[in-house]
Amino acid sequence: MNIGIVSYGAYIPQYRIKTEEIAKVWGANAKSIIDGLMVFEKSVPDMDEDTITISVEAARSAISRAKIDPKDIGAIYVGSESHPYAVKPSGTIVGEAIGAGPENLTVADFEFACKAGTAAIQACMGLVRSGMIKLGVAIGSDVSQGAPGDALEYTAAAGGVAYVIGSKDLAAEIEDTYSYTTDTPDFWRREGMPYPEHGGRFTGEPGYFKHITSAANGLMQKLGTKPEDYDYAIFHQPNGKFPTKVAKTLGFTPLQIKPGLVVPRLGNTYSGSCMMGLAATLDIAKPGDRIFMTAFGSGAGSDAFSITVKDGIDEIRCGAPSVEELLADPIYVDYATYARHKNKIKL
């Protein structure tokens, strides 16, 4: 049975804040930060947006793109590190808002830092392949928090993407997936704490690079493929530098990663990060193109995917806004407005 992506939908809030604006507040050198992170601006949620509203918009976009019947959906998994409720699933609200269920529907929320969404894709793949469900919706969505004045503040962004996984009418086939997982505490947030902690430079080699390269090499070895076999590649994008560097290490070229590298204009949408890059790539890919994607989640683990675009992509391409359309016409805000939107000012 072939399984893969039947549809996808993305959502990006319309507000942005520039790196310079944040740097100005903290007395930092904007140019060196931009050079170091390769992020010019990031998305900011509206006062009435959160991970759930973003997930709903992304899911609705995926449903309408391919005219999916919501009653065919057998599973909904929302992966995020900013679920609005610590206990009460985001997934049930998404389900209700897209008209799925209540019969024959299983729902749960996922958490694995920035790879919660791709873990959800893997779970859906298993359920579809086993014949337990017809269609599964995997969502990676976040309204990420970075502590004021911390390095993460420049990149923690808001956005989400939904993938509908099935076995018929595929827009893109997922040939295989492979994961590499260890207990590596490079980044975490304790229950009840508003902002995450991170290990600084420790998040690099022992975290991001080790897991991505292990998962990527593991998958290519399993499939007997090489970087040259792929037209496009997407790696988790906490900033612009890391994916560019890991691509080079693995043997992928800057041209291959270009369409999927949205972080310079969007920031890191955490659970949405890789999935947004994949969406941006699918927006322009042609049938027959091959895509290699490797997500990374702190804690730590990497999920790698090998994808082949099918003819079905042309039928669904215009059914929902593209990532480029979502990135267009942003509304820029200053730090005060940004702080208000992100609830950083405690009342």
């Binding site: 939908g9 509206d46 006062m47 009435d48 947006e49 959160d50 759930i52 509203t53 709903v56 918009e57 609705r60 976009s61 309408s64 793109r65 609005p84 409720y85 609200i93 209700e96 808002a97 008209g99 215009c318 059914g319 929902a320 806004p321 359309e325 509304i331 208000r340 009342l347």
Partner: protein, 143 residues
């Protein structure tokens, strides 16, 4: 609003599901269980609105309602849905852009919350319809 009271209506508020009287073909949003035209002969069924409409009137609220203070200034509007009924909602839009006659579409947003510990209320608001400018003229983008 209490939990059961909100829960009773959440399908309607999330998905703009109102009612229609199939006898006289009138549409109702918010939903009505009795058609004022047909009364005891009402034949009421649920009806899901497309979410598309136009601004009939609007105001910019500077002094917010209770629990809406953090959102001010916000655009409160009367929206005439394409199918006919008029409803009250917010339009997410820079205040200089909103105007009577503006085409809008529904989006999913937080309506509020009971308290920091309490339930979060989600529902429908509106944004300006996406217009794509192309060589063939403007057209509305789906989705």
């Amino acid at each position: 609003m209490s939990v059961p009271r909100f829960w009773r209506r959440l399908k309607n508020i999330y998905n703009l599901i109102g009612t229609q009287c199939t006898r006289c073909k009138s549409f109702y949003y918010p939903p009505r269980s009795l058609c004022p035209e047909c009364r005891r002969e009402s034949k009421i069924v649920p009806f899901r609105f497309s979410g598309s409409g136009e601004v009939f009137s609007y105001t910019i609220v500077h002094t917010g309602a209770k629990d809406f203070e953090k959102l001010t200034p916000y655009v409160l509007a009367l929206i005439r849905l394409d199918e006919g009924p008029m409803m009250t909602s917010q339009v997410i839009c820079p205040s200089e852009k909103v105007h009577i006659g503006m085409k809008v579409r529904m989006v999913f947003r937080k309506l509020g919350e009971e308290s920091e510990k309490g339930m979060i209320y989600y529902g429908t608001k509106f944004v300006p319809e996406r217009i794509k400018k192309s060589a063939g003229g403007e057209k509305i983008i789906n989705g």
